[in-house]
Amino acid sequence: MFGLDRDQAIGTLLLIALLIIAPFILYPVFVMQLLCAALFACAFNLMIGYVGLLSFGHAAFFGMGCYVAAWTMKHWHIDALAAILMGGVAGAALGLPLGWLAIRRSGIYFAMITLALAQMVYFFCVEAPFTGGEDGIQQVPRGHLFGFINLNNDMAMYWLVAAVFLAGFLLIHRIVHSPFGQVLKSIRENEPRATSLGYRTDDYKLIAFVLSTCLAGVAGGAKALVFGIATLTDVHYSTSGEVVLTTLLGGLGTVFGPVVGAAVVVSMENYLARFGDWVTVTQGAVFMVCVLAFRRGIVGEIAARLKLSL
């Protein structure tokens, strides 16, 4: 099911068990923050891990998801799940034109172009009236799920976020292990060869990009509802850098890496928050250590040691 092999199925069951236990042990809002970051990282991992393209502008889609979910929730008072999905629609709608532009180049240029395009989105969000500029969109209500479940209760909100996360996680897994995903991997390994076999590699890359940005938007939408706020930080390029770090630390191209990475990065941010800019320094240092000594990431290393496919 979902293309999971035995190791991964066991891992997924373990993950589901953790999802069920977590809110009783940890502060639910913290776990929700973690899950939003994890879904965002999984979406990002779809591009870097399976297509081999490093997007340095994923904050644009995450942030736009935040804004759109927050705006629709606040002004249209729609269902909470609908608002989160609106975030996904926003991510995909933005990802389509930007991806169409960015896939014209690959490698380092792809990273620079996505960074620059995301910067454009950032400046747009600074100027555009609907984002509230520096103030952002504040006091977004969490609303109701299916009209009758009040999400102001943290636990109710938690189950929704957990369900959205799990759906996104399994969807990505399904995508990666479908015939479509196999073509993506072949593009990563040898693009000219994939082309010569008759695949329109640009179409595949674009579809993967849009799927990735859509899920990034969903993650953003969920985050906007959890915290009731959408701000410029969510579209800022430091957020793009953070998702790169999260995925790299967990393990590029692994199934569980982004989730583990998110757990580490979000905990680090929470516990180091009182040290101000030392968070940035620590993140940078972790980045450097990962790149220099630890390129497979946490899950990648474990999987290689134990010879598992995680």
Binding site: Y109, I113, M120, D277
Partner: protein
């Protein structure tokens, strides 16, 4: 007051001048990026941090040692260039055999560490750095008043860009460098110490960023985020120009600065995004960049 296209002349020329100044920084920074990329095949994400360090080192030289602006213009690039060389030797050189993306990620991590450290010790608000006395004041050009320092920045940037061009295109060291960019193993076989050449190139590119930082210190306040503000735009400049040629980087840098300045006059809302819009157009029409080779 005379008008051009419905805009007061002095306003127009003032913005063009400001654009030229921003363009001077774009040119110097994208030039350094291009030189480093040509030789090391990495995108130096920490370039903005080295730019910021250039400004900070000149501020420190003045406030801790009493060394003024003009010696700083020489000393700061040397000091920051040495730091760059140290980082290249100890860290970056380990990544040459890997995918180029790892170089980008490593230097991104470096920039986080450096910027974070400076923010910790100096805060984000910024410190003033006075314009040196000789370059203070303004000159009446007839059609507008030009602050002398601004003119100096444009001239100094042009001179440095020209010097870089001469060093790479007209000297024997430059010839070796270009040869090593084309085919490093072959050049090594001829007895040229290529790793040393690579290190020197990185140091040179970093020194160029630091020089730009010293020039920028009196214009923008010296603060840890000054590099960040520039570097994203510079990446767009690099995509627009392509990284194939030195002259290309310089022309693209100045040109985009002026376009940005003009946008401030005619449609201010778009001034922050116009460079990125140009990038989109270039990507549609000529994906390799205006002066670039297809990679």
């Amino acid at each position: 007051m005379f008008m051009i296209l419905g805009v007061p002349g002095p306003l127009l020329f003032g913005q063009v001048l400001l654009g030229l100044i921003n363009g001077a920084f774009y040119a110097m920074l994208s030039l350094g990026l291009a030189v480093i990329f040509g030789m090391l095949n990495i995108i130096n994400f920490a370039h903005g941090s080295f730019f910021m360090m250039g400004a900070f080192v000149s501020w420190m030289l003045l406030n801790y040692l009493g060394i003024g602006y003009f010696p700083s213009l020489i000393l700061a690039p040397i000091i920051v260039g040495a730091i760059g060389i140290l980082l290249e030797k100890t860290l970056i050189s380990r990544l040459y055999k890997l995918d180029h993306l790892y170089g980008l990620l490593l230097t991104f991590g470096m920039s986080l560490v450096v910027n974070g450290l400076f923010r910790n010790y100096y805060g984000s608000s910024g410190m003033p750095y006075d314009i040196p006395g000789v370059l203070n004041g303004a000159q009446n050009l007839g059609f507008m008043y030009m602050p002398i320092y601004r003119g100096w920045v444009v001239v100094a940037a042009l001179v440095v860009c020209l010097a870089t061009w001469i060093a790479i295109e007209k000297t024997s060291l430059g010839a070796r460098l270009r040869a090593a960019t084309e085919n490093a193993p072959m050049v090594q076989a001829f007895g040229v110490n290529v790793p040393r050449l690579v290190t020197l190139t990185f140091g040179g590119g970093v020194a160029l960023a630091a020089f730009a930082g010293v020039l920028a210190a009196p214009i923008y306040s010296v603060n840890p985020n000054m590099g960040d503000n520039f570097i994203n735009t510079v990446f767009a400049v690099v995509v627009i120009g392509g990284m194939g040629s030195i002259i290309g980087s310089v022309i693209t840098g100045f040109g985009l600065g002026v376009i940005e300045g003009l946008t401030k006059v005619f449609y201010p809302q778009a001034s922050a995004t116009v460079v990125f819009l140009v990038m989109v157009i270039v990507l549609l029409a000529r994906p390799r960049g205006l002066f670039g080779r297809m990679v």
